[in-house]
Amino acid sequence: MQRFNLYQEEYHPSPLVNIWLEFRRSHIALSGFVLLVLFLIITVFAPLLAPYSPELQNTNAILLPPSWEPNGTIAHLLGTDGLGRDVFSRLLYACRTTFGSSLVIVAISVFIGVGVGALAGVLSGLRSSIVNHLFDSIMSIPTLLIAIVMVAILGTGLFNAMMAITLALIPQFVHQTRTYVRNELQKDYVLLDRLDGASSRRIFIFSILPGMVELIVVQATIALSVAIIDISALGFLSLGAQEPTIELGASLSLALDVAYVAPWLIILPGMCIFLMILSINVVGEGLRSALRNRLHH
């Protein structure tokens, strides 16, 4: 038989690539994505990017305003705080803590949530309905409240706060996964896979999971913004990260004391939180509409 490919150069985008192509069409979503990547770079490379050590106290320059103010110097780009520490460096480290810990939280809760959800979806009967109703009832309580209760029991600290938020985020992934898996298991292609001899585990990993990735990604963006808000809220309430860990919410609360003298100490971390949440939500929304539209084009 003749063996040459007629359309070798033709591009065959997979559903995931299609989402990216569709996502790229929206400029707002793309700029949100760029911002998100920027935060990611800061998270990974903060020690390299920061001009000073965040702990270094420059006693010659206390409460210096940002460099564009008349009194500011270019040496401290965003000024200094009440102890003479460089705000820019501290901000980079704070972003690193907040964003990084949120990413870890979401990653862990996705992993656990999808695992438990898949199990609940494959199981049937009483066990499945116990898992389902238990997690559904937890979902009705706001995550921040659960987190505060848990911190109250476990004690303050970044690690405890992260654990509390992780536990609070898991149920939504369990719920989503379970519903999706339940739904897919009814479909004909699963029957055909079964007839090919595939086990339940194999069907989940090779047939159902690829289709679920997009759903998880969208859900994870929502969870990420919730996690950032919760981490910084707990930090602000001094229930989360403690000194010397630098965190956006905690630095916000520290700056409250000198709010009238140095408003930039409040505005800058606040802006960071705002931009983080904004970029994540814009990307999430872009992904959702890309998912909706990708098959129309």
């Binding site: 038989m1 292609y189 055909l192 007839l195 289709g211």
Partner: protein, 268 residues
Amino acid sequence: MNKILSVNNIEYTHTIKSGLFGSLQSFQLGPISFDMHEGETIAIIGNNGSGKSMLAKALVGAVPLSSGTIDLYNSEASDQAVQTKIRTRGQDIRLILQHNADALNPSLSIGSILTQTLSLNTDFGEAQKREKIEETLVKVGLLREHYYYYRHMLSDGQQQRIAMARALLLDPKIIVADEPFAALDPSVRSQTINLILKLQNELGLGFVFISHNIGIVRHISDRVLVIDKGKIIEQGLTSEVFLNPQQPVTQKLIQSHFSMVEKHFARL
């Protein structure tokens, strides 16, 4: 002609529990027995809810039998490579479902769907799998390039061809199809029928299909089984059953079709 399949008194009881405290409703399929010969086409007809689809599922092993046996007779080895492994019933009797959006996984490429079928049932190497898949795609009238395609890029007819390729991939002896033509458009339907006829000629496949299109049944089947309330109420050569149906259910099914055909010819 060699006998390739014999179904002996298979039975299956399907119970549905309606509501939490509802009564158990059960549907009894069988006992059903019939034989099948090489290259033969058997059509299963019957009213809605008569158990046609359940019989198809019982044949391919999608539902467990409560009693009875399904025996396959190995004639000559068709493909050495596949024969090295002990074949199960699921490999020799393959299922094609009615064309619908759920019959193909939307998030996997055709290639990876078909590769999975091969890796679960054969011990082929990567290159061998690829070769086999492409060969089968060509066999059902598609291109090698369809390996990279996803469901949303294929038309209805092409999707049904993929289903056919998936069934043929394991070199089965018998293909069971549940309403393979129902959701297809007339011209695509003709293409699919032609393809099945061609493949049957080439490979000597046994073909069992369910259809409510009496015209197609008459055209392509050798024998018909008429099912009602889970049991075979009439069976025989298609031409004989159609000429002289015995049971009222059969008469009704056939007459309602031919009354339409007669109207058609009355207009010419």
